[in-house]
Amino acid sequence: MREYETVIGLEVHCELATKTKIFCGCTTEFGGEPNTHVCPVCAGMPGTLPVLNKQVVEYALSAGVALNCDITQYCKFDRKNYFYPDLPKAYQISQLYLPICRNGHVDIEVDGVKKSIGIHEIHMEEDAGKLIHDEWEDCTIVDYNRCGVPLIEIVSEPDMCSADEVIAYLEKLRMILQYLGVSDCKMQEGSLRADINLSVREKGSDKLGTRTEMKNMNSFKAIARAIEGEMNRQIELLEEGKSVTQETRRWDDNKCASYAMRSKEDAQDYRYFPDPDLPPVSISDAWLERVKAAQPEMRDAKCARYVKEYSLTEHDAAILTESRKMADIFEAAAAICKKPKEVSNWLIVDTMRLLKVHEMDAADLKFSPEHLAKLIELLDAGTINRPTARDVFEKVFAENVDPEAYVEANGLKIEADDGALKGVIEGIVAANPQSVADYHAGKKKAIGFLVGQTMKAMKGKADPGTVNKLLAEILNQ
């Protein structure tokens, strides 16, 4: 078998986090009953006209700057004409001739190897509606809630050559866009979508093979599987002496296979022309400077600052800064309780664990830095012990409870009275003569059992360290 290499390019669609749609004042809120976030403009009713949301341009510029692009300071909107029920005007307002950003790049690292992935362009466009297939009747229901939600489409150069590189690229893009606050990039909610363009060729060849386009991957893992699947499918075809057909394929993750999409009946001639209803967008040097100045601190800079300012290890700083949300919680909580190492541990260990368990994204963290800071203070003051603190934290994580109020309401405070504790310990010692004997015989570990029994009797409202100390005192009397 010959050796092959894969050439991959991505078209990533990203829903912008604006409050309203790109051309009308309807909400962009996710969900909602069908056609309740719709007005005559985004429903494409006759006589209606688009008016551009300025925030869309601001976000697109912010993304372009962060992705090292040249900004097209005079850009226009074009109409892309085709018929499909999810497109009410039968044209999508997009940008072809003068996209807002061009010639950028993103740096990724895979297995220690650094690589720069080129970004061909970024353009603004409007999203289409949703088609819901009715199971009972042979028909489709059209919902325009999503129609008009602003998108940026990020088109990469065909610079990637493996699933790992693609995932690294997507993770970097997602992090950057989340950091900027420009999009929440949630694949499962559709605010981040990726189409894969893939072709294979013999290693060493400089001619590009025929490429296919893949759609309908709903997670990074599915994307990785789709890439592997398509790569193999194309190589197999070539090995059999057949050729690859240029087509769009739909990935079915359940079956782990792709299928050629039925080609749309007519020629895909989109007849792009500048939209006469929308004046061009002119971005002055001053505007661009303002965007650059307002860019938030990006991940690498934040990471370096954490190492210096909070004396964290690079490893810990890297985990904390992987998500802007987590980094923000870290800084705010540390500012309140002045214990960055503690805050860091709660985030890196307990929070990360819970995120995995609940299959959540760090961007969805609900709890406030104030509550985390308070929990740390309670623990530090000895008001609660560490096991209790962990339990309370789970509540803080899930429901953002106020830890102080929660501890009070559920009577979780450590028994502060040492006298009462001593009494309980004496009772345990009296009830367990064998363990006491073992201890005195040299089995120092036997104290652990007695500590455990004490904790049980105290219903957890004791500090293990204090129990250990008092036990030892009593035993050694």
Binding site: P40, P46, G47, L49, V51, K89, A90, Y272, P276, L278
Partner: protein
Amino acid sequence: MEITALTALELGKKIKAGEVTVEEAVKAQLEKIKERDSVHNCYVTVMEEEALKRAKEVQKQIDAGELDDSPLAGVPVAIKDNICTKGVLTTCSSKILNNFKPPYDATVIEKLEAAGAVIIGKVNMDEFAMGSTTETSYFGPTKNPWNTERVPGGSSGGAAAAVAAEEAWYALGSDTGGSIRQPSSFCGVTGLKPTYGSVSRYGLIAYASSLDQIGPIARNVSDCAAVFEAIAGYDAKDSTSVKMEDYHFTEALVDDVKGLRIGIPKGYLGEGLDPEVKEAVLAAAKTLEEKGAIVEMFDMDMVDYAIPAYYVIASAEASSNLSRFDGVKYGYRTPDFEDLQDVYKKTRDEGFGMEVKRRMMIGAFVLSSGYYDAYYIKALQVKALIKKGFDEAFAKYDIILGPTAPTTALKMGENLSDPLKMYLGDIYTVSVNLAGLPGISLPCGIDSDGLPIGVQMIGQAFSEKTLIRAAYSLEQTRSYERPACVKGEN
């Protein structure tokens, strides 16, 4: 004199003076419509109930002094059927919208109603405003009140005919390549296409977005000025809307053209122009000269290229604007379909007339890959040159004057078999839309067939006040001619 023979402003004064009630005006108009419209076919929808109801409301407002600043308060108006009226059929004279009731009013409707207007009905047009004779209407052609074997012009034929036949005091039409001015010329009334962007297009069902404008058709320049004042204005819902500095257009109704520099393009007076039209237009120019204007012939290039550029641009934009009529969200849907493609193709084939289909195919063609540069981009370059030509002319002249159309009203039934020939009749009007300029057509004579002749004046962008003054001055030298069908009743 019958109140239906009054001008809109004259009626407005009588209503304010308490001599006529709004309800009386509406009833008088409805009666004339009943009498004459079965012959003329100006109206697609007569809003009898709504108008009578609204008449009472407006009367209350007038009596309470709330509409003292509105000279048109209480005056009924007819609206071209491509302008959205909430809850009322808006069909664009097409089968594909024959059941469409918009859930919103066009901005111009909101403005007119705020000024106390009473909408009395929706008037006929060429289907989707594509045509110059109103013969492509799904609801049958409108007849010219001067001679019912002639067309009223188009695409605002219903509007112009209704005003001429005194079935409306004034109307709102739309103009993309001459659709207000040419029918005004054929029907002996006055029509103004304002500067692009001066009147909001929100709620105007689009034909060619970069060329469409809404404007008044009435029986004199004063009425047109008053209506324009009521409907012009910046609209945040229309991104191509422009804020003008001065909206006091009725202040320009002054009979004075001393020193006004008027240019007549030589290219306008060549072959193809009817000799009687030429004579009447030159006579109008002479009148203005006698009143102190400076009139001169000059060379303006590009005259021959305006029509091809217009048809490429208009068809391209129309093909895109009309794609939304697909049987999915509103309007007609074919009753006979098996799959989605059927819904699209049959709905559109059954719902659109031949002229509309023709222009959509031309539009698809000139935008298709391989032809885009040669046709669409080329047409946009020609448009730039046309604008430049006008800019150069307006450095020397205040007004450009010429015929509105090369002929008077054409015979009915002769025009649709040769679309190209019909397109060539737009020669004097399309370049004005391409350059976004204001243009007004007013009557300047009657030909030997007894048909009205129109003269067109064109101004530099946003110079409607100069245009109104020039037109008003010319108007004072001629009396308003009424068609025979309204005359025997004084």
